[in-house]
């Protein structure tokens, strides 16, 4: 079965996000007063696995081994059958 995988990676709560801080300051320059700005990274790909559960496990493994750094990141996996 072909699956679409989407991994959404964000910083753990309490970890400083300088990119988000900079964006929020820039928005303020345009006179948009916003709070709690955050940035996330999304990685998408296709994979071929027997079922959704196996696909999820595989993607989770990828997150642990490469896509995320467990010291600072949280992640969310979405698997959609094609």
């Amino acid at each position: 079965m072909k699956y679409y995988a989407q991994v959404k990676i964000g910083l753990k709560k309490g970890i400083l996000n300088p990119e988000a801080t900079t964006i929020q300051k820039a928005l303020a320059l345009l006179e948009y007063e916003v709070k709690d700005t955050d940035t996330l990274k999304i990685i998408k790909f296709e994979l071929d696995e027997d079922n959704e559960e196996v696909a999820y496990k595989k993607v989770d493994e990828m997150c642990q081994r490469l896509l995320c750094n467990p010291v600072i990141h949280d992640y969310e996996i979405k698997i959609i059958s094609k």
């Binding site: 400083l16 750094n69 010291v71 600072i72």
Partner: protein
């Protein structure tokens, strides 16, 4: 003393490290990222640069290359390993030293001379300095802000190697910019000792990092 200098696509301080090791009296040689056997070397240096374009996170892709298995193997045989700048980021990504070096608090690339305090002399690379000696070396990075989950453990196990003195340019936790593993043989520093290894460069305070390897 044969010292392997690891090269990845995007490494750019390899030749500077080679030169500094020569001045220090070592026999440096380049090692490409696909080499798995590093047993011919007495020490390893991972130089700075932008391996794999810093894609994903600085050091993340270099951290899964075959040469890393070779490094893990020689580490288990007590071969000293020094990671400088991108090399430090890679060692942290691999988990050979605790914590991470992530985006600077001001979100900028910082390139400047810094005053640093040597916090431990138990690593081969800092063995020739005095404890708490202040030395001058440059930094050049966008992802150098040190963060770790268990700072107490670093204190308890004497794993803090270098700290910024007076100012903390990148927002590192407790101004830490160099750490080592529990044995002290694997050391990761963001400042560049090779760029401070001759008077003509502005300082030769960094040369003892390399002399320390040769004397080990």
């Amino acid at each position: 003393m044969r010292v392997g200098i690891i090269r990845f696509p995007g490494s750019n301080c390899d030749r500077d490290v080679f030169h500094a090791l020569k001045i220090a009296g070592g026999e440096p040689a380049y090692v490409w990222w696909d080499q798995k056997d590093l047993s011919a070397f007495d020490a390893i240096v991972m130089p700075g640069g932008f391996s794999y374009g810093d894609y994903l996170r600085a050091g993340a892709i270099a951290a899964i290359t075959p040469v890393i298995n070779g490094i893990k193997e020689v580490v288990s045989e007590e071969t000293p390993v020094l990671g400088i700048c991108n090399g430090a980021q890679i060692l942290a990504e691999v988990g050979l030293v605790p914590g991470v070096f992530t985006v600077n608090s001001n979100a900028k690339f910082i390139c400047k001379w810094t005053d640093l305090k040597v916090k431990t002399k138990r690593t081969p690379f800092t063995s020739m300095y005095k404890k708490n000696e202040v030395i001058k070396m440059p930094i050049a990075h966008a992802e150098g802000r040190y963060y770790c989950e268990d700072i107490e453990k670093l204190h308890d196990q004497d794993q803090i190697v270098l700290k910024f003195e007076e100012e903390n340019p990148n927002g590192s936790m407790e101004a830490i910019t160099g750490v080592c593993d529990e044995t002290g043989l694997v050391c990761a520093v963001m400042p560049h000792p090779e760029r401070a290894s001759e008077t003509i460069l502005g300082s030769k305070d960094g040369l003892k990092f390399f002399k320390g390897i040769i004397n080990y």
